[in-house]
Subunit: 288 residues, 2 copies
């Protein structure tokens, strides 16, 4: 049972913090953490999210860990495993929270010592804030938990990821390949963020602030973005994202050509298509 | 006082219906309506939104009207005034609900008989539904009411539009020129709808439905669109909208080039800019 395990969270930011908080609330008594920031450790300990934590001299914590959650940006995760991975003991099972998978997962799996398993996962539960201090704002209840196993993974590894998702209270658990994951994320998450950012970077956009309605606010809410994390995620997945941007730009250009030529039927056809596609989304949501 | 006036609503759709409903709730006892659909008239009368209404033989209603709200699409508004405008009596003041102004307002003003004033306005309170039967879903309370006077308008005309907005309970009343209105609408409303439609028209978008998070749902909610109305609004304002699409596409292309060349600093600069611009929006909202 996961509740009896010694669990180590590496990286006590917003997501690492919300995992620690969720595990503590679920009754896990052996949650430890590593972070560069002493204040994050102090906060999490005082809030009862973790039993203890370290900013340095954490070798004993790593050696004692039975389960590990890497709550780091992709590059930092790779660096950490390269430097400290050898400390992990056989039988330990690790996961992560990264928003990109292809390239990263295989690399991490290759770096870990024999007998240590890495089963990648991605909680689709972000927020436009950061830090363990905001961990209580993260809501897993309506969110998807994605697991992206490779042929290196075992049934035990997969079961750990599922248990973790259930313990944290995610609405849905879905299993897909790293490539499928990154293609899907390129469209539903990264393209939408690229659009919101491009919309919000309009020169003089502020002068329209007093006129905006719900639709504009909804569209640009996600333009408040953690620049370091998102630059990293975009670059890790750039092939997929560039492809999505190109396809989107082509459709927008089609719409523009309808405007230029006064093609009312063409516009109406696009509007009907988008209405039907969106209705299908709503329907699927209701069914779940 | 507006409450004592004989008010005629021309067009009992979603907005016309919600105006009738709002006026009735505010205590107006003399609200009448014209619509092509007998069922709309019957519903509004039964619901207590209007005192009476007609689908034909409505000349006496038009002649008796002291105030008129044209709740029609732009082209239908122009056609109606061309055909029936001569029936309006001197002293009558009219307004509309159209989402585009330049070209339309001057034309309507030119068609009306001497002594009949047309003061254009635009309630920024849409919904992804239509028909008087859904009028109760329209919420004026958080919305902007825009008034776009020309040099043909009088202080009495402007005061009528203000009274109407106050009676219906709009949060803010703003006065701007037709050209300013259309430029602003091209950006905050039409460009966002063009984006949502283009996003939702991705081939096979449905297959990602189970993976979408809040950001995707927010961005595409407005992709469910009344095709006839929006095709009309887009085409009426196509110069502004084409310009906005071009500028947006250029910014998205800049972002894509950062990806292509691996320009992390360039990406982060765009993300910082969008974050700051969006924060300014939030701040302005809170101040109001």
């Amino acid at each position: 049972m996961l509740k009896e395990c010694n669990i180590l969270i590496v990286g006590l930011g917003l997501l690492g913090g919300s995992y620690a908080r969720g595990l503590a609330k679920a009754g896990c008594k052996q949650v430890f953490a590593i972070d560069l920031d002493q204040e994050a450790i102090r906060f999490a300990k005082e809030a009862g999210y973790i039993r203890d934590g370290r900013t340095s001299g954490f070798e004993p914590l790593v050696q004692a860990a039975q389960r590990v959650v890497f709550a780091l940006y992709p590059t930092a995760l790779e660096d950490w495993v390269r430097r400290w991975g050898h400390l992990l003991r056989p039988g330990c099972i690790c996961t992560d929270v990264s928003g990109v998978k292809a390239g990263l997962v295989e690399t991490v799996q290759g770096l870990l010592p024999a007998g240590v398993e890495f089963i990648a996962s991605h909680p689709m539960a972000g927020k436009e804030v950061s830090g363990v201090q905001n961990a209580h704002l993260v809501d897993f209840a309506p969110a998807n938990f994605l697991i992206t196993p490779t042929d290196k993974n075992t049934p035990e590894g997969l079961e750990f990821a599922r248990q973790l998702a259930r313990l944290l209270g995610f609405a849905h658990i879905r299993v897909l390949s790293c490539a499928e994951h990154d293609r899907m994320i390129g469209y539903v998450s990264q393209l939408t963020h690229a659009i919101a950012v491009s919309l919000m970077c309009a020169p003089g956009a502020e002068r329209f602030a007093e006129y905006t309605g719900d639709s504009f606010r909804d569209l640009t809410r996600i333009a408040r973005i953690n620049e370091t994390m998102w630059a990293e995620l975009f670059l890790w997945n750039k092939e997929n994202l560039i492809g999505e941007i190109d396809e989107f730009a082509t459709r927008l250009e089609t719409l523009k050509q309808c405007l230029k030529t006064g093609d009312r039927a063409g516009l109406e056809a696009m509007f009907r298509q988008s209405t039907q596609a969106r209705a299908a989304f709503d329907k699927k949501e209701k069914e779940e």
